[in-house]
Amino acid sequence: MLKAYLFILLFVCLLLNSCSSDKLSTYQKSKALLDTYVTITVVADSQVAADMAIENAFDVIERFGDMVNFFSDRSELSAINRSAGVREVGVSAETLDIIEKAIYVSDKSGGAFDPTIGPEIRLWDFINKTKPSDLEIRKNLPLVNYKNIIIDKGKSTVFLKKKGMLLDLGGIAKGYAADLAVEALKHKGITSGLVAIAGDIKAFGLKPDRKPWIVGIKNPRQKIVEDEVIARLPLIDKAISTAGDYERYFIAGGQRFHHLLIPRTGYPAYACQSVSLISDEGAMTDGFDTALFVLGPEKGLALAKEMGMDAMIIDDKGAIHTTSGLQGKLTIERNY
């Protein structure tokens, strides 16, 4: 009799264990790239297939990062900045493409996003909590204008018209890299996955349980660990990016000074705490989230609608505004 019971026990244990291993076909790897942490999750039928696809996507991101690294002397972007006001610089198709997209976002947002904001950003010291003087800010403003980026598509060259201009693609590069990584994964036969380059995320396909990927949106005013996520939403074949005033900031004299500057004035924008944007393309969500943050909730939502994107904007009072496309999809966390 005991043997029969033990046999049943063994069967139950095997059954429970087989039920518990529900992630057999989801594989995940992380790597430090683009000065941040990149995590790629794929659905695949073997570890070997997943590893090959993920490593290839990492390589694609790394090669792209080498071209547009603001801090590396060897990058194409640094060559463009060194030659500002002097001469045009020949660049790769990818570098030309991302600069074109950055100009597109700038144009569509009326300059609320501007990849030439570099000379203003560098004045702010968020480590030592130092605000630049009004004079310093005014002095560098003439160097900020995306219309002074001259592109020659035929020759594949880029020229910054004024000496001292600095092109910084940090506001769009991670989203663009997520697009590249997803294409690289698909090219290797992966039909479902999630690429997370810090907070710039792109999902495609469904999880093994045929459910969509679920992405949480960070609470811009998190006080305790349990408050980290303010909302969640399913993501199917879409990208999401978030711009927030809590990423790089300091508080002085009771005022928050953060890195999302208004290109026209050189001072931080104060109408929002965070903007999360959803669209088909990572480069667009990454670029436009900054633009919407600068524009504020009303104009920002109008621009999102015009561009066919969905947005969740948390305004300066903490109120949540969304486009109609998010109705029924967005779940606000209970403790908010």
């Binding site: 679920i214 992405v215 660990v225």
Partner: protein, 119 residues
């Protein structure tokens, strides 16, 4: 009767064991420091300490305090890791020093039913 008792006891232990081990595994480590892609230190997040990590650009000073982590000093050129400031969940990266500090694990997301967090 004794057989039945033993059977139910074993069943209960087996089921409890599965859930206990799952929970223990999902808690993971609080702070993992990777050097050159290899996990080098595993530290509790709620024990304050200063740690010096050797890298190609000299020592990087990592500080854990009050459930948060920061790179206090680094000798890399760009200081991106230092500029990250205090992090209570997420990752701090110093590419020149091949250093990655993971604060909390992805298991926390999974516990909340999330695949990733934006922001």
């Amino acid at each position: 009767m004794a057989d039945r008792l033993l059977f139910f006891l074993l069943i209960s232990l087996a089921i409890a064991g599965i859930f206990v081990s799952r929970d223990a595994l999902s808690k993971g480590s609080d702070v993992i420091i990777e050097v050159d892609g290899k996990p080098t230190y595993t530290l509790p997040l709620y024990t304050d300490r200063l740690l010096s990590v050797v890298g190609p650009h000299g020592d990087t000073l990592v500080e854990i305090q009050g459930g948060k982590v920061r790179v206090k000093e680094a000798h890399c050129r760009n200081q991106i890791c230092v500029r990250e400031g205090w992090v209570s969940r997420g990752v701090i990266v110093c590419l020149p020093n091949k250093l990655v500090i993971i604060v909390g694990g992805s298991n926390k997301y999974k516990k909340q039913g999330l695949d990733a967090i934006t922001g």
